[in-house]
């Protein structure tokens, strides 16, 4: 027995199933799947962090054309990027088993959207697997490969955050299923043409009911219990439902849906048989609920289906055991257990996520803010740690949409307000992901924006994964670093400067110069993330020199600088010795660790 995180269980299950090529792009809550594959690689798996999700899906598709078992990992919004190859691949199909793991994030806890990736299964007419626990995910991913190979189609595997980041004791099987890829065999079936798409569309439509029938006897789809009331659920909500039923000693018919698409119709009819009322408990969108309503219409069943559409289940945010217990206790008319009342809770400090102490993004934002003081400017941000630059006191992120969009949103803003200086901030990994086309667009269409690349030599937000600029791959190879400033120059950006943001004075001057340049200009702020940087001497405040003006706190918002009565002090456990506060203290009261110590 091993204690495995859901994502580790998915990875171990894929290794057990004989996966040979694994690609992906980091994104919470999916990241640890690919990392675990790389860590536990028995030696014969090719694993890469691809440049983006579209690239990842295509690399995996190619390998699956050659008969390899392949897996792609991404978060839900990554599927939007990968949707172009996904839709076409659904028509072409695969030879080796191909599983696309797309992790959804109800809440959302670390995402831009609460989109439901089960819809991608419906949209592309692909089978979807929805695990309810890490141990189930470990076995189910193997089934996903089997179904993929049996039906020659890519399949979606859709865990959610509470499965991905839950740990459970899992029985790990040491045996590995052996796959011997046949290799690519030339055939016109690999070339998508309108005629082929038409023919394959017919085949796909014929396959859907077969899959539905097959899924009705799939082990993780099941119906238990008896009575005139029933609950239908799937994924982590199944776990909450079991917990809630046991909390209130409730009994009813229970339909667990592990394959929301194609919907296991025969099993669903068995569940609906004899029922008067059904409560559907799921997160994100009412997918199971609509399938049941459809079946009631199709078979003329007079059953009251309740769920998100009837407001019996919340239609946004994640479910909890408490919310599910409340809903079930009302549905079954059993009182819910009393929750202890908490009275007179003292005012709790608000603790939003912030840029780490020592983070080079703080210095970059500060330099731009300084340089643009009194000048009309808009700061378009992007996805990464640096989105946190929106918080007080920096307030340097005015827009954030999706990966790579800061560069292009800035261009749109500039078309309407040409007298405003439009900045676009983008991280190094995001630059490679989807930033480059936006830069080329600005060059080509002669848009006057200032591009700020925050190059911290890692993919920081998701836990420091390598990217094309780091010179390392997930196979452990040292490769040529792709230099961002070279890319910018190569695509025609005429004003490109690389500078360390902690060289504050010069950084401010360079930002001013870039802002005055006509046409797209770029500054690459290069300083490593504290997680990959060597430690530096810590900083301290000289109490005799500190006047308590608190400029350091008010302007930087560094978590290591805290109020100490009427002065300030630096928390040595958090300080990374970045030098930024030393540079801005008007009284020279902050310095390396020997300052202030007599």
């Amino acid at each position: 027995m091993e204690l495995l995180m859901g994502n580790q269980a998915i990875a171990m299950g894929a290794i057990r199933a004989g996966v040979g090529v694994v690609t992906g792009y980091p994104g919470t809550p999916s990241t640890e799947i690919l990392e675990t594959i790389a860590k536990k690689n028995p030696g014969n798996i090719y694993v890469e962090w691809s440049v983006n999700e579209k690239t990842a899906l295509e690399v995996a598709a190619g390998a699956a054309y050659a008969g390899q078992r392949t897996m792609v990992t991404m978060k839900q919004v990554g599927m939007n990027v990968a949707s172009d190859p996904l839709m076409s691949l659904a028509y072409i199909g695969v030879k080796g088993g191909m599983v696309i793991v797309v992790a959804d994030d109800p809440g959302p806890i670390s995402s831009q959207t609460e989109q439901d990736s089960r819809h991608f299964g419906v949209f592309a007419k692909l089978p979807v697997f929805d695990p309810s626990s890490p141990e189930e995910a470990y076995l189910m991913i193997g089934d996903a490969f089997e179904y993929s190979q049996k039906y020659h189609t890519p399949v979606l595997f859709r865990p959610t955050t509470r499965v991905c980041h839950a740990y459970a004791t899992v029985e790990v099987d040491e045996k590995i299923y052996e796959v011997k890829p046949e290799g690519f065999v030339k055939d016109s079936k690999w070339v998508i043409f309108p005629r082929l798409s038409y023919n394959n569309h017919i085949k796909i439509e014929e396959r859907q009911p077969k899959l539905s029938k097959d899924f009705s006897s799939y082990i993780y789809n099941n119906v238990t219990g008896t009575g005139k009331t029933g609950i239908a659920t799937g994924g982590i909500s199944y776990a909450y439902t079991r917990e809630a039923l046991s909390n209130i000693a409730g009994e009813c018919k229970l339909f667990k849906v592990a394959t929301p698409h194609p919907f296991p119709e025969e099993l669903a009819l068995e569940f609906l048989d004899g029922l008067e009322e059904v409560l559907v408990i799921e997160e994100l969108d009412p997918v199971i609920e609509k399938e049941l309503i459809f079946l009631c219409g199709k078979y003329n069943l007079n059953i009251n289906i309740m769920g998100k559409l009837t407001k019996h289940i919340q239609n946004a945010g994640e479910n909890t055991v408490e919310s599910v217990t409340q809903a079930i206790s009302k549905f079954l008319d059993i009182p819910a257990p009393k929750v202890k009342e908490i009275k007179d809770l003292p005012q709790l400090p608000i603790r939003p996520p912030v840029l780490c102490a020592g983070c080079p993004h703080r210095a970059s934002f500060y330099a731009v803010k300084k340089a643009m003081k009194g000048i009309k400017a808009v700061f378009s941000g992007d996805i990464g740690c640096y989105t946190l630059g929106n918080a007080k006191p920096l307030e340097m992120v005015d827009t954030c949409l999706c990966m790579g969009a800061g560069i292009t949103i800035a261009q749109g803003l500039h078309r309407v307000e040409p007298d405003t200086v439009n900045f676009a901030f983008v991280g190094d990994s995001t630059f490679f992901h989807t930033g480059i086309p936006g830069v080329i667009n600005a060059v080509y269409n002669e848009t006057d924006i200032v591009l700020i690349v925050l190059d911290n030599s890692t993919t920081a937000m998701t836990g420091n994964q390598p990217h094309p600029g780091t010179g390392r791959t997930m196979m452990g190879n040292v490769t040529e670093k792709i230099i961002i400033s070279d890319v910018l120059k190569a695509v025609g950006v005429k004003h490109v400067v690389t500078i360390n943001p902690f060289d504050l004075e010069n950084a401010v001057l360079e930002v001013k110069a870039a802002a005055q340049f006509k046409g797209i200009s770029a500054i690459v702020f290069k300083a490593p993330c504290i997680a990959v940087a060597p430690p530096a001497p810590l900083y301290v405040v000289d109490n005799e020199k500190c006047t308590g003006c608190k400029k350091c706190i008010k302007e930087l918002g560094c978590p290591a600088i805290v109020k100490d009565n009427d002065k300030v002090k630096i928390d040595q456990a958090l300080c990374y010795g970045c030098t930024l506060c030393e540079n801005i203290c008007p009284f020279h009261a902050i310095g390396g660790s020997n300052v202030g110590k007599k």
Partner: protein, 216 residues
């Protein structure tokens, strides 16, 4: 002081144990929950835990739910059902009080971590109000003097194992010091084992020495 009758029955494998581990990103809560889980597994128990991973790790509040027992479905603990809250920070312990059982136990370190929002405003968060509230509202409370731990162990990174020392010495989760030592040997990187075992023992001594129980 924690009362002896609060000891759990984990060794008999009959009871479900729910434990919340909470603090601020970077304090080492994840390792603490892993060590508890490992200790349970070493006794043949099944474990489910849930961790905060991602954006909120950056200086935000973090929480681990640790559930031990053979008939557990959800990785998250229900409100009013945690046997123990291990708080790495006073306000974070208070924040999760709604999860504590009526007669549950709170083991908390008394060092406040001031968020940037506090430094930027006129609120003066210092942790003392939180400890006071805990004393008035928690049936079984032990407050660990964090400064003493940092001073004695020479690092701020071992608060987790010091708190687990209190957990072991008090017996609230049913694990002994030896159980925790074994888990540390299995789960902590070689060069940090010694430091963590020291902190574990210091935490346990703090709990056991009568003159150290100033925080009742």
């Amino acid at each position: 002081m924690l009362e002896k009758n609060n000891k759990c029955e984990i060794n008999k494998g009959e009871k479900m144990i729910n434990c919340i581990v909470t603090g601020v990103g970077g304090q080492g809560t994840v390792l603490a929950s892993k060590l508890i889980a490992q200790s349970a597994m070493n006794k043949g128990m099944k474990v489910r835990t849930s961790e905060t991973i991602g954006m909120s790790q950056r200086g935000g509040g973090v929480v681990s739910h640790v559930r031990i027992g053979n008939e557990i479905h959800s990785p998250l603990i229900n409100l009013s059902s945690a046997d123990v809250i291990i708080g790495f920070e006073p306000a974070e312990a208070v924040r999760y009080l709604p999860y504590l059982k009526e007669l549950g136990t709170v083991i908390v370190a008394n060092n406040p971590i001031k968020p940037v929002t506090d430094s930027l405003s006129d609120t003066n968060y210092n942790g003392a109000d939180m400890i006071k509230y805990l004393k008035e509202n928690v049936a079984h409370l032990f407050v660990l003097d964090a400064e003493a731990v940092f001073e004695k162990c020479g690092s701020t990174k071992i608060l987790n194992t010091a708190l687990l020392g209190v957990v072991a010495a008090s017996g609230v989760l049913g694990f002994s010091l030896e159980d925790m030592e074994k888990s540390i040997h299995e789960k902590v990187r070689e060069k940090f084992i010694h430091m963590n075992i020291n902190a574990l023992h210091f935490g346990a001594e703090t709990y056991l020495k009568p003159n150290s129980k100033k925080c009742e």
